[in-house]
Subunit: 372 residues, 2 copies
């Protein structure tokens, strides 16, 4: 099934970029004066294959997973936080809830790899069967929580592979199913997000392997670890790579051996969006690790990605450069959850509204630039 989706992915039609530019050049403004907003409009036209695309419904997926490597002390937060934050998402108290509401996007939290059984958790609203697969529960004001667990946390990558290859493929398939399912429900812009204590560790491992850079050049301080723990984090990642020997030419092998369930979900979401010709806005370090895996599976996925922001984490820029993506925002964010993605959605939509709603020189009776 994953293969079928990947085969379906087509690059964008570059002639549509030019067609969109021709309209932008007729609008009552100096040529190119709205900079990247114009680029966003052009890309949305080419991505959707529609010269007057609509962005009706927006959604951000926050994939949650646990990481065995947390026991190595690579994170500043205890592992209990994963469950507590899932409840916080459902109760609309987290940053992603606030910012998604501000941007007009729905939030879908996906348990793809948390080391807990939420189905019998008394603090979670009742689950029902989800069309897309798994079980779905709705929290305050309609926040969707989908339980589609592939693993109860990954293994500690400094000792074993994170997952089996089959599990990694299942994570990717879950993301694909969500992209296709929500596309069918009329969602026209997607965002990626993550939640998982210690997940900058597997993300930096993926960054090192797929960009060919040294671990120390792609590893940051995550939620805020100090000097000693930071040195240890680098050694843990180096050890994980040395022990598991992932094959950099096989992105699923990299994902399985040193990745994470939520990273695989993000990879799948991007593959699914590309197959459905839907724009997908990539959040920070963890999301970009998922995007990089998708890019190595099928480079055409890049045509559908928007890099929402430049994270504080150093590995982030290295991965964006590898894919040739330029971040939209630079606000010193390092939270994840999809927070950067929903903020960037506002700006991408701004570009589309410029394209669709501004008057042309002819319509407004405004004189054009002098010749010569």
């Amino acid at each position: 099934m994953m293969k079928d989706t990947v085969t379906k992915i087509q690059g964008i039609d570059a002639s549509l970029l030019k067609q969109a530019q021709a309209r932008l050049d007729k609008l009552t403004k100096p040529k190119d004066s709205l900079g990247r907003l114009e680029e966003f409009a052009q890309r949305l036209v080419a991505i959707t294959g529609n010269t007057m695309p609509d962005i009706d419904k927006k959604v951000v997926f926050t994939f949650a997973g646990d990481h065995g490597v947390a026991e190595e002390g690579v994170s500043a937060f205890p592992k209990e936080v994963t469950r507590e934050m899932v409840l916080n998402f459902i109760n609309k108290g987290a940053a992603i809830n606030v910012l998604a509401r501000h941007a007009g996007a729905d939030v879908v939290v996906v348990d793809i790899g948390v080391d807990l059984d939420f189905l019998n958790d008394p603090d979670i609203p009742p689950f029902s069967t989800c069309e897309i697969g798994g079980k779905i529960a709705f929290g305050k004001n309609g926040v969707a929580f989908i339980s589609n667990k592939v693993v109860y946390g990954t293994q500690n990558i400094s000792k074993w592979p994170a997952m089996t290859r089959k599990e990694a493929e299942q994570c990717v398939q879950t993301g694909i199913d969500l992209a296709i399912g929500y596309s069918k429900q009329g969602y026209s812009m997607f965002g990626t997000g993550d939640m998982g204590i210690a997940n900058t560790t597997p993300s930096s491992a993926i960054a090192a392997l797929l960009t060919g850079r040294e671990v120390k050049d792609v590893t940051g301080r995550g939620t805020g670890i100090d000097g000693h723990a930071f040195e240890h984090k680098i050694r843990v990642i180096e050890q994980a790579i040395a022990l598991n020997k992932p094959d950099p030419s096989d992105p699923i092998d990299v994902l399985a051996k040193v990745g994470g369930a939520e990273i695989g979900g993000i990879t799948g979401l991007i593959l699914g969006c590309a197959s459905q010709k839907r724009p997908v806005v990539i959040d920070g370090l963890i999301s970009t690790a998922g995007a990089l895996v998708a890019y190595f599976i099928e480079p055409k996925t890049k045509d559908y990605m928007f890099a929402s922001h430049q994270s504080v984490e150093i590995g982030h820029r290295v991965m964006l450069d590898k894919m040739g993506l330029t971040p939209i925002l630079d606000l010193n964010l390092r939270l994840g959850e999809g927070t950067g993605a929903v903020l960037a959605m506002f700006l991408i939509e701004a570009g589309l509204k410029i394209y669709k709603e501004m008057a042309t020189f002819g319509e407004a009776g405004v004189s054009e630039k002098k010749q010569g």
Copy 2:
């Protein structure tokens, strides 16, 4: 009257920044992980003097003026465009209309120095007396057009002073009156914008004089002039400075001799906002020239300013650096009108919503960071 307003301006209370930070540190996210969004929230608390400020109504002012120096061929667009664009604003076809609507801000267009009489223009809706002064007309869906003209265009600064000192003061007073008037009407966030063919020329002149940099280091290509016209633009600015000899220690003298009416209006709006403890979001090059004049009149005005974006125009960054302001966005914009200001408003508000709406660790029952 201008002096009374300036005397009223107080710096922010730095203890409120810390008080806001204390709340931000209790929210369910790693400390400082929302970067500049947290800075925005802190500043809004300190600016308003309210630990739970409301941003209810937002407004952007697009000040319009003509420039005698346009006859020197320093702009790519003909002067007729000023009137045509005013009509475009009123009919909601311009970029500022589209982006302000997207950001939830009202648009007020102010004729402060256009070389035309709009009061008898058959294409403009009927005017009525405006409480704040001048006459007001309402276009499509309530776009306000205020006619409060100080000059019928400025003089060609390469030959004469742009305005008299009294006219420059009147422009500033008009901006002050608008800030105070709209504050009384319940507006809680202000944006600056401009429209005026050739107005990058006086803006670069102001930038050179008040930052002490050479003209060539603060002059760009405006709406898109070519190499020859660009060299000519630099010489025109140098000539304007040599001829008029503005006193850099007297910002009103600089504004009068080499500035513009819309730049003076922007200066006044900022002084008025600071006196009313209202945040004011500064657009690009022209707005920042107005902001720099305000800053030299009273440096405490800086506490109330947000630098919305980094324009393509090179003089822009030089002026922001002089004031110690860091731009929020960098999207290669160079349009003006207030377009960058309204886009940044969305992000500033995002910071406030994070501060007000996120759950604390205690409320959400989320474990805090491990000690040590």
